[in-house]
């Protein structure tokens, strides 16, 4: 036991040698747990991804680019465009509405109970997505939804006016339900980092509120806002369950197209599905890299 006390340490504080009472056997467990985790990740995360990449460039005769080139085909371009439009629209709504909500909620004039209510509701709503969210909106704005019926009894037939929940507009409204709270959660720390001294100094120098935001607030916040926008874009871009439950795949999105290929609902080959998935992964890598770069820029201001 006393050997433990004399265990030599490296300068950086990392334990150099295990206590003799444990010996080599004491190291087997730690390294096998680490090994198991990495092996699982390699087998069930990395290998399937590599498999998709390989599958998207191979056919019976070996290497081919025809599946990647097929991504330029008409219906796939439509799916790409729908996915991108939906992601941009819902991310823009999320950034603007979520940003404003967060701004007003952290104001000192805000009652503290209301502030914590908004924070906890954001946590719930940001995680309440997928199939249950879709049916919550069907109950509200579907053809038989309570709001639709209520408006109809008031003489406003929103479906007669051209609205449909099962359209791009409808999907955007539904996606906003998780995008806005996501934004509230992501942007609140950045807003709290805006120091009151800057605001006070600018007011002392005679700046109006508009001038403060145009010349100080927004430039400081901009990297955080861009990073948040890109993260929201990614969250909508990779969403599948919500769209599927709402439209049964009738609106072509990248995710629903991949699912259609997987379930054999369309005549496309598995390689087309793999190529689509690879396309998605490429976009998401871009999302991660760009948002990390902007959030590094934003962290200059965090003390």
């Amino acid at each position: 036991m006393s050997q433990a006390a004399t265990t030599p340490l490296r300068r950086d504080g990392v334990v150099h040698k295990r206590p003799a009472s444990q010996g080599v056997a004491g190291l087997i467990l730690p390294y096998s747990v680490i090994g198991l985790f990495i092996a699982l990740a390699a087998l069930f995360m990395a290998a399937p991804t590599v498999m998709l990449a390989v599958q998207s460039v191979t056919d019976d005769h070996g290497f081919t680019l025809k599946y990647l080139e097929a991504l330029g085909g008409d219906n796939i371009v439509v799916a790409f465009r729908n996915s991108i439009v939906l992601s941009i629209a819902s991310a823009a709504i999320g950034v603007v509405a979520g940003g404003l909500i967060a701004y007003f909620v952290i104001s000192p004039a805000m009652p503290i109970t209301l502030r914590s209510a908004v924070t906890s509701f954001s946590a719930v709503a940001a995680n309440f997505a997928g199939v249950p969210l879709a049916f919550a909106f069907v109950s509200t704005l579907g053809t038989l939804g309570m709001l639709t019926q209520g408006l109809r009894s008031l003489g406003v037939d929103i479906y007669g006016l051209g609205f449909s929940l099962f359209s791009m507009t409808g999907l955007t409204i539904v996606y906003a339900y998780f995008q806005i709270p996501l934004m509230v959660i992501i942007i609140t720390p950045a807003l709290l980092a805006l120091r009151t001294e800057w605001r006070e100094s600018s007011e002392n120098l005679g700046a109006t509120s508009g001038q403060y935001w145009r010349m100080i607030g927004l430039p400081v916040l901009l990297p955080s806002l861009i990073s948040a926008f890109i993260l929201l874009f990614g969250s909508a871009f990779s969403a599948y369950a919500t769209a599927y439950a709402l439209t049964s795949g009738n609106i072509a999105l990248l995710t629903t197209e991949i699912a259609n290929v997987l379930s054999g609902d369309v005549s496309s080959s598995p390689q087309t599905g793999a190529a689509l998935a690879v396309g998605m992964i490429v976009v998401m890598v871009g999302v991660l890299v760009i948002s990390a770069a902007f959030s590094r820029r934003a962290s200059r201001w965090h003390k």
């Binding site: 433990a4 946590a123 940001a126 997505a129 997928g130 199939v131 049916f135 339900y177 919500t242 998401m284």
Partner: protein
């Protein structure tokens, strides 16, 4: 001085409407019986469905299995990495970022190409524990990592060792109690995410809770509204727990 005038209340009021109305409508739609009648018909016919309980149980079991994987595999692996192999940190960070970069629908595509057997693995719903573990990974990893950094694990371990404690004792009596809030938070979040997860279960043809909601919704929308209400309550309960153990920090899950 920040002013909090009409603009503020307008924004918050509109947001409140947008977020509260669908929830109220969902509850009232679940009670709607057509032609202005309200009652518990939808709930009664739900309870009469033979596949309600099995799918709910499968989802609960998967949620618990995912939590177990986080506590028994992820947390120990991260603690050991921190103590014995800090050079592997970039590998761990990379693995934790992968599930964000590879969307669920892409991962399930890869999995179904790669694994067509053996049946003891892919034939049971517990196969889903593997993708669900990775679905929860980015968020659980972040929470546990913050927890480990906050407690200066190395010093605590050395202190324990110099007092003659074995590694098992140190982990059981020092490390795990310090990580308890992070672990409970990640478990609740993962549980909520798994309870609503649809993508993997639907493509791999397992009958989970979310798959049931979707199936019910195709022909019985009021029953689906009842199930959505239940699902919201589950998420709400889990997030309340996360906020309580996490000292008010909101966390984000992954199943959209």
């Amino acid at each position: 001085m920040r002013r909090f005038g009409l603009a503020g209340w307008t924004v918050l009021g509109l947001a409140g409407l947008y977020f509260i109305v669908p929830l109220l409508m969902t509850v009232s739609f679940s009670l709607w019986q057509g032609h202005g009648n309200y009652g518990f018909d939808a709930y009664r016919s739900l309870l009469a469905r033979p596949n309600l309980l099995p799918s709910l149980i499968v989802s609960i079991e998967l949620g618990l299995a995912t939590c177990a994987a986080i506590v028994l595999l992820l947390a120990p692996a991260m603690i050991f990495m921190h103590l014995y192999a800090p050079k592997l940190r970039p590998v761990f960070e990379f693995i934790a970022a992968l599930p964000f970069v590879v969307p669920a629908i892409a991962l399930v595509a890869g999995l179904s190409v790669l694994f067509t057997g053996p049946d003891w693995l892919i034939g049971t719903p517990f196969y889903l524990t593997i993708p669900y573990f990775f679905l929860a990974l980015p968020y659980a990893y972040r929470a546990i990592d913050v927890g480990i950094r906050a407690i200066d694990l190395t010093t605590l371990t050395e202190a324990g060792q110099s007092l003659g404690a074995s590694l098992g004792q140190i982990i059981r009596m020092v490390v795990l109690p310090s990580l308890r809030p992070a672990l409970i938070g990640s478990m609740l979040l993962s549980f909520a995410v798994v309870m609503g997860e649809f993508t993997f279960a639907n493509v791999l043809l397992f009958h989970t809770f979310a798959v049931l909601i979707n199936e019910v919704g195709q022909n019985a929308p009021t029953e689906a509204a009842a199930l959505s209400t239940l699902s919201f309550l589950i998420t709400w309960g889990a997030m309340l727990g996360v906020l309580m153990v996490g000292r008010g920090n909101a966390q984000l899950g992954g199943a959209r």
